[in-house]
């Protein structure tokens, strides 16, 4: 057995979860929203998704091939980025828009920082932001069929009262995968069932979002208004699929709760300022705060007394 290669180090068995599996599970969880999008908006929606997914994967492949990095494109993380980006686009946008967003998301936001795991910001959200700033007319034009350019959330933010039912069922205009709260929640349940995400971040974000609106919204506990705030726009897709992006969220439990709370508060504050894409900015700011959050939430080790603040040689003594 002399020259056989050994995996020397313990443990000698491993769990079944791999990065690629994780990403495939996320893709599977996005299916309800994607399928509903195609069903609702028609084949153009599918075209957007295909373009974004293919562009993202190609960009990563080209980048890895030329930069002589190990090929990690097969882990499907680029596909997740592409699909998420497509689900945020308005269906009427030209296809090249998705290409620009995808290339930026993968090449600049992800690969330039060192590839998967190294990026500080969520690539899909950054891609979306870029498009929003460069092509705000196209990106804000949600007209489709009988629906006008303005979404229900837009009307809501202008002070109108809107019916939450279309938001929940998805029978309205908006981003391709954002209209149906039910489809997104179905995907969220899948994520939880697969064990890909934990409840902490979305729950913390939702709680602080509602609480902030309740305290500072000036409408008190107006259930209809709060429901439409939650179901409108990209809030649900954001907290269930983008805030939980593991690469750009804190690694420890307390940090995750704090991060979720921060996102919820920011999203509510921006919504109250009348900004429709509140959740996008909230999550990106949350992403930027991650290093700080992780610094102030170093978990207490098992058996360590709670008052250990500066861990130096002094407090290694026994009780």
């Amino acid at each position: 057995m002399g020259e056989k290669k050994y995996a020397w180090t313990f443990p000698h068995v491993k769990g079944t979860m791999s990065t690629a599996n994780l990403m495939r599970m996320v893709l599977a969880a996005l299916l309800p929203a994607a399928v509903f999008g195609v069903f609702h908006f028609g084949p153009e929606a599918l075209a957007h998704m295909l373009v974004c997914v293919v562009t993202c994967m190609l960009t990563e492949f080209v980048f890895e091939a030329f930069a002589d990095r190990p090929l990690a494109v097969t882990d499907c993380s680029a596909a997740v980025t592409g699909l998420l980006l497509a689900l945020m686009l308005p269906v009427g946008a030209p296809l090249w828009l998705g290409i620009i967003g995808s290339v930026f998301a993968v090449a600049v936001v992800k690969m330039a920082f060192g590839g998967i795991g190294k990026n500080r910001l969520n690539p899909a959200l950054c891609g979306y932001c870029l498009l929003l700033w460069l092509f705000s007319d196209i990106m804000r034009d949600y007209s489709f069929g009988d629906f006008g350019a303005e979404t229900l959330l837009g009307q809501l933010l202008q002070g109108e009262t809107v019916d939450p039912l279309p938001m929940i069922l998805g029978n309205t205009n908006g981003g391709i995968g954002q209209t149906s709260s039910l489809a997104i929640l179905a995907g969220a349940l899948l994520l939880l069932a697969f064990g890909v995400i934990r409840l902490r971040i979305p729950a913390a974000a939702a709680v602080s979002f509602v609480l902030t609106l309740f305290l500072f919204g000036g409408r008190g506990f107006d259930q209809l208004w709060l429901t439409t705030q939650i179901c409108g726009g990209g809030f649900l897709l954001g907290i269930w699929f983008m805030a939980v992006d593991c690469v750009t969220s804190p690694i420890n439990r307390q940090g995750q709760v704090l991060y979720g709370l921060l996102i919820g508060v920011l999203a509510a504050a921006l919504r109250l300022r009348g900004i429709e894409e509140a959740i996008v900015y909230a999550i990106l700011v949350g992403n930027m705060a991650v290093p700080l959050i992780e610094k102030i939430t170093v978990p207490r080790a098992f058996g360590q007394r709670r008052l250990v603040k500066v861990h130096n040689d002094k407090n290694s003594g026994t009780a």
Binding site: K14, T19, L22, G117, G303
Partner: protein, 436 residues
Amino acid sequence: MAHVTFKGGVYPHKRKRFTREKTLEEYLPKGDLVYPLLQHIGGMAVPVVEPGERVLEGQLIARASGDISAPVHASVSGIVRSIESRLTVSGKKIPSIVVENDGAYEKYPAEEIGPWKELEPGERLRRIRDAGVVGMGGAGFPTHVKLAVRNPKRIRYVIVNGTECEPYMTGDYRRMVEEPEHLVEGLEIVLGFFERAVGILALEDNKRDAITALQLAVREEPRMEVRVFETKYPQGAERMLIYSVSGMEIDSTQLPADAGCIVLNVETVCAIRQALVEGRPLIQRAVTVTGKALKNPRNLLVRLGTSFAELPEAAGGFAREPRKFVCGGPMRGTALPDLDVPVVKTSTGLLCMSKDYLFKPSACIRCGSCAEVCPIHLLPARLAELASQDKEEEFRHMHGMECLGCGSCSYVCPARRALAPAIQGMRKSLLAQGKR
């Protein structure tokens, strides 16, 4: 079943079915026997025999040196061939006594001892020490030192660790099923040192037959109880088990006694009983010889010093080509590149794997799974990164020195990163420098 348990941990496949129904059978060694002088934590034992001398089964061949040390006994009768450095499981060469087995198994006359209850506690401790008993679950800490706590009245729990949370391993399980009365007797001896303590037989809930057998055995014992915990790795880690039993958390610098606990492995308790009831030293232990590569996996009672290389043959030989040998369980065991190393007091099993998984690591995606399962609530991904950058200060600030080395983080890591070995490597090098 819901039980109090620690936070974190993993659920690897148990794979105990290979050997769980196989009774413990004695295996007689064929080749030479090798007795490393260091099979325990502490000072190296000092040989008291010369090459060429004839020794008998159970005869002292190396005495303990210093307070924290343990003697070594011959497990067969035969001629001492040499005293030389031999490869051991750890991969290090350690001075060892090599004995040529004459096949007679002539026993060294056992010391006449009356009932152990008539002995002074100090005398009982001395006999446990002289029998060479050490922690047989893997740590190898001399048992007489563990039992000699400063204030015996503060000990509230004597925990017999029968959790055997490592996959594949079934030696402790068989002991509990086959000799529950021996275990109870051994525990009674230990409880004799600690008048206020309760004896806890701790098991995982997948060991039903053992639970039944032990519950039956402790029916008449007012000071003992069987406690059943969730089947989860690393339930059997000392600090985790103490928490499960008593709710007390201890850090890596504290001793179980600080939490009022004494934790002893099943095999160790059997060795204690043997020392005081039969007056025989520790020369044999249960070893699970298992794995998919073997035709007939078994639980064997192996004489210490037997070469691991003999064991696959004793288990029916190979059914498939073995790809990897592991001493101990697959979670925390040591890979053996060379099987010709001796079975020692801390060897729980030999695992012959038919597949050698080569885990190719990819980039960390910060998924936090490692933090989720870490029983010590550390951030293994971060610690491994700090270890690779040699950042001592931060490593210690993030409690890296508290790592158990259970390997749960590596087990779950979707990027297949070797987190635990990296953290343990850093921890050990810092400990070696005397930094904490």
